[in-house]
Symmetry: C2
């Protein structure tokens, strides 16, 4: 930082490049703690690198600042970014600043991956198992809780489940080690679940020209969501798990004979649960199978930035 | 594009990373042709790579779109970006889109440079000559012309000098080959003149812990500016050349015995004039020397995004 461009060493493998925009009023509100915003902005990008089985290396951070935010806000924002970088051995090497009418955070990350390990979205084959790390819907639950009435917020305050949902929303985890381990276990396709399982699985299947059968009973609904549903009727836990965005868990397809190994490695190395949720199908339909065996199309509902 | 991150091959040398934000109302107005905006957004970044003696390789482009711009505007914007990329063998490999209240364009470029050739801002040594490519103040002149009254615009329309100033503003040139040639001629420090010569030279001197003496008579004032000054009194050509931004010419320091070689190579290879404008001094002052030999401090006035 200080020169026209940052000079960095290339790694040994291929280079991954990814970028994400976060816009005030679209992706976040200014009421959000700037430290959490900075942390999430980096994690969203690091998660994209993780989804290709890579390791993050360098970050460039550009920010448009409005009159509503001052130096303390900016310091907190960068503090959160540095926290995420530190966790993943990533370095912020450049960026740009401008004033503007609304706050925009634009983050670009470079990553490194060996050619042997890189996993795209296009390799899913009929018969592969569909797996997902961790729990889904937590971030959407945290968001719903944040928008709930004062009485709900007051009753939830201080509970374990409230803390879990807030953490899922504000401090998502990028599954970097998990992504590399899934690659080593032969993952045929992988992506991160940033816009909701239903939408992202539909995208993965389209990229691989395959279909999928998902058993709804096996979708890893975040356990804290049942407490939320008890207080906020209409917030169906399964629906939040299928359509809620920003979980940043990994969705992968993997040969059936490697699934047990992958589950054991992820649990042993990272304490991360890997859940089997269904199979890749030769048809191009993405189907949800209910507890009663009834099948229906899995609607690709989720987070759409232009909705 | 399509996966979570773009997968690209690393080059043979070191990697350069640079990013620039362009915000509506700060860096451009929506009245600007979107094709020119896209072109300039890429050139501004490519110029940063050129200023380190590198070659551009990959670009990531993120855009916030307001309700004021529709699909044809966006297609033109990307068309201009692709034009600039094509000229410099650079590939757009990813990006992000969002809606928002004002238009923001965020571009990140990676470049490649051999360790032997890379030039930073920190190596200027007392006695080095200060050189600058091309002509300065043209973009500022084009901007002044665009903001002039209808009668001036009408009188200037169709003249060669009006076209030259508009081109300087809308279609700046990134000096990629020139930067590499200057490095091969032993340039000790280099940067691009994006915020005005006075401000950028002051930055280069501060980074190198040196001073400078600039002969005002030798500053390469864009020839078309004298026509502008004739029509718009108060627009002093020298002042525009010293303080106008967005010229994207290269400013470098170079050992005295390599200057002639550098001038001949730049002219022979690229048809680009290299102008000597002064010398690096051991003091930390940046001084302007007038035609009468009188010295005054060179005020670091220029483009400040937070002014």
């Amino acid at each position: 930082v200080g020169d026209d461009a940052a000079l960095v060493e290339p790694g040994h493998g291929a280079v991954l490049l990814t970028t994400d925009l976060l816009v005030e009023g679209v992706h976040f509100e200014l009421s959000m703690a700037p430290r959490d915003l900075g942390y999430k902005a980096l994690v969203a990008n690091i998660s994209d690198v993780a989804a290709m089985a890579g390791s993050p290396r360098y970050a460039l951070v550009s920010t448009v600042l409005s009159e509503a935010v001052g130096p303390p806000w900016v310091i907190e924002l960068y503090g959160g970014m540095l926290e995420a970088c530190k966790e993943h051995a990533c370095a912020i090497v450049g960026g740009d600043l401008s004033r503007g009418r609304e706050v925009v955070v634009s983050v670009t990350i470079t990553g490194e991956v060996s050619h042997r390990d890189v996993v795209s979205r296009t390799g899913a084959r009929p018969g592969d198992r569909i797996v997902v790390t961790g729990w889904l819907g937590g971030a959407a639950g945290g968001l719903a809780l944040g928008r709930a009435g004062d009485d709900v917020v007051r009753r939830a305050a201080g509970t374990d489940w409230e803390r879990e949902l807030s953490l899922a929303l504000d401090r998502p985890v990028a599954r970097v080690g998990e992504g590399q381990t899934l690659a080593q276990c032969g993952a045929t396709a992988m992506m991160d679940v940033s816009d909701g399982l239903a939408l992202d699985l539909t995208r993965l299947c389209a990229a691989s020209s395959v279909g999928a059968r998902v058993r709804l009973d096996d979708v890893p609904v975040h356990p804290a969501l049942r407490h939320l549903a008890g207080m906020l009727p209409g917030h169906d836990p399964l629906e939040l798990a299928l359509s809620g965005g920003e979980d940043y868990e990994l969705l992968a397809t993997i040969p059936e004979d490697r699934v047990t190994e992958a589950m054991e490695l992820l649990n042993g190395r990272y304490g991360t649960r890997l859940h089997g949720i269904g199979e890749v199908a030769a048809t191009q339909e993405v189907v949800a199978v209910g507890a009663d065996g009834a099948e229906r199309p899995l609607e690709p509902k989720g987070w759409d930035h232009f909705a």
